[in-house]
């Protein structure tokens, strides 16, 4: 069989998920002695192709059209390439941009789409594993189609390494300019301001478990007591209780403090992506099944409104 994996880049950088897609794609191709094709669309495609040429890649298809990601270009280019290669599995990243073109590609090719796969297997057909209900349960999904589109969760597969001897083939996609009805006008960095949480040695981080805005004072007290910096998971920032520059996670900051104390944070994958590099992770949560305990080094399963005051007292 043929596996086609689509690389991702942004503002001149190949994104890490690209090499993870190569690993996932190679594993699938190996299951049937098949070939792994990689596509890279827009930007410095030759330079990207060079960096994508890792062990296990058979062919790299380059589509030179435009600089930055545009979903109308990607949709047309990937659809046409897939029509030509007829891959059994079409792998794309489960990223913000992946979700902006993968569904359209699947729709045009008439392929079923399985998003956010955390595991893939091929045995007479594709089986994907994904998580439901905020990682509380896992489900397996079988595709009965001859060909299936999948978006792959970042950081689930290791990055492909080594150097390959892939053939690089420019692909002449026919891009209908009149079908490009979105224009990227720029980029904006958000989350600047008084504090850079990625510089902190100790973070006290608060999540949805704090329930009310006024309860934040308790966590501020703890942060002051420990001489730590206050950070938060997404819901706190969505609610406007803390500014964006305090947000840890995929869409916020990636932090690597010596100690990260997660309080009332369930540990959704988007949050974990931002803090799993901390040296020591402490979790306080009343839900023993919260995914945060899967990556914590130390934990207390109890009500934060009982534990945090007691902890402050210990330091007074």
């Amino acid at each position: 069989m043929t596996v086609l994996a689509v690389a991702e880049h942004r503002r001149g950088e190949l994104r890490a998920v690209s090499h993870e897609l190569v690993t996932a794609g190679r594993e699938l191709a190996d299951a049937t002695d098949g070939d792994l094709h990689v596509a890279v669309v827009s930007g410095s495609v030759e330079e990207y192709a060079d960096r994508l040429d890792r062990e296990g890649v058979d062919v790299i298809h380059t589509v030179a059209h435009g600089e930055e990601f545009n979903h109308d270009v990607y949709t047309q280019a990937v659809t046409q390439l897939a029509e030509e290669l007829d891959p059994t599995v079409l792998l794309m990243p489960q990223s913000v941009n992946g979700l902006d073109y993968a569904p359209a590609v699947a729709n045009r090719l008439g392929l079923p789409l399985i998003t956010d796969a955390v595991d893939l297997a091929y045995d007479d057909g594709l089986t994907a594993t994904r998580e439901l209900y905020g990682s509380k349960v896992e489900t397996t999904i079988d595709s009965h189609a001859d060909s299936t589109a999948v978006t792959v969760r970042p950081a689930e597969w290791p990055a492909a390494e080594g150097s390959g001897d892939a053939t690089v083939e420019p692909f002449e996609a026919t891009i209908d300019e009149s079908a490009i009805r979105s224009t990227v006008t720029g980029f904006q960095e958000v989350g600047g301001g008084d504090v850079d949480i990625s510089e902190a040695d100790v973070l006290v981080s608060i999540g949805r478990g704090i329930e009310e805005e006024e309860n934040l004072d308790l966590i501020r007290d703890l942060a002051d007591t420990l001489d730590a910096t206050l950070s938060a998971s997404r819901p706190i920032v969505d609610n406007g209780w803390l500014p964006k520059n305090r947000q840890v996670g995929q869409s916020g900051k990636v932090v690597t403090p010596d100690v990260y104390i997660a309080i009332g944070i369930s540990g959704a994958v988007q949050h974990v992506a931002g803090m799993k590099g901390a040296d020591t992770i402490v979790a306080i949560n009343d839900d023993p099944n919260a995914p945060i305990f899967d990556i914590a080094d130390y934990g207390i399963v109890d009500d934060l409104f009982d534990v945090v005051p007691a902890l402050i007292e210990q330091f007074e």
Partner: protein
């Protein structure tokens, strides 16, 4: 101008739960309006407040049980609601994005909205693909993961920010009509007023079968099948402190002191 908002009743699972076949046992779930959809509804209602002659219509795929949840959007200012359901839709079957989009597209074709807002994803299935699939089935433009919207209805353009990873936003102009998938945090969803809740009771909530929207049961055919549901094995090896809050806090304080925290 007409804005169509797709909404979904989702289930939240209790801390402790049991699995029943391919689903969570009903005893351990609570139904609510999908969080992302709340932001999409709010965005639509705000448009109707700032522009003249905007009608906000919600559409959901769900059984009659979901009506109470769907009325929350009416209570917050949506004008009317459409609920698609059919005996052919088995309550427990997983609907893939293409199937959902087919049903929603059939409604959109009847309604002819200028703008469609969806949540980025649902809190339970987290497929995150229905909105863009819907756009492509309709042949309209789209933008995924929108966290700022400035609509220029006269020019027929939506100026949006797309929330990329790592604190970067992409600024994009999208031609209307379009489907925008709305990210949490784009606005501050209101609470329904008592007056709104009362008014919602008399707002139109139309039920449509597959036949009503020009489809038959073949629209539900899907080549993907859910085969198992299970609790993942914990990968954790955390040291858990046990005891009263004073005892656990004491142990944690000892650890933090060892690490030089708070000294």
């Amino acid at each position: 101008m007409k804005v169509l908002v797709t909404v979904k009743e989702v289930t939240a699972v209790d801390d402790e739960f049991e699995i029943d076949g391919l689903d969570i046992d009903d005893r351990y779930v609570t139904a609510d309006l999908n969080e992302w959809d709340e932001y999409a509804v709010e965005e639509a209602v705000q448009l109707s407040e700032s522009l003249d002659d905007v009608e906000v219509v919600t559409v959901t795929i769900g059984p009659s049980d979901s009506e109470e949840t769907i009325r929350q959007a009416l209570a917050k200012g949506a004008d009317r609601a459409i609920r698609v359901w059919d005996d052919a839709l088995d309550d427990d079957a997983m609907l893939d994005p293409a199937t959902k989009a087919r049903l929603l597209a059939a409604v959109a074709e009847q309604e002819g909205p200028d703008l469609i807002l969806t949540g980025v994803q649902s809190a339970d299935d987290s497929l995150g693909a229905t909105g863009v699939t819907l756009a492509d089935q309709l042949g309209t433009e789209w933008a995924a993961v929108v966290n700022a919207l400035d609509l220029d209805a006269e020019a027929g353009v939506a100026h949006v920010h797309r929330e990329l990873e790592g604190g970067v936003e992409e600024l994009t102009d999208v031609e209307l009509p379009a489907v925008l998938t709305i990210q949490t945090g784009i606005n501050d969803p209101r609470y329904a007023s008592l007056r709104g809740i009362r008014q919602a009771q008399s707002k139109e909530l139309a039920e449509k079968t597959l036949d009503d929207i020009g489809l038959d049961a073949t629209a539900l055919d899907s080549p993907i099948e859910q085969t198992a549901l299970y609790e993942p094995e914990s990968e954790g090896d955390a040291t858990l402190y046990e005891g009263t809050p004073e005892e656990t806090a004491g142990e944690l304080a000892g650890l933090l002191a060892e690490r030089g925290v708070g000294q």
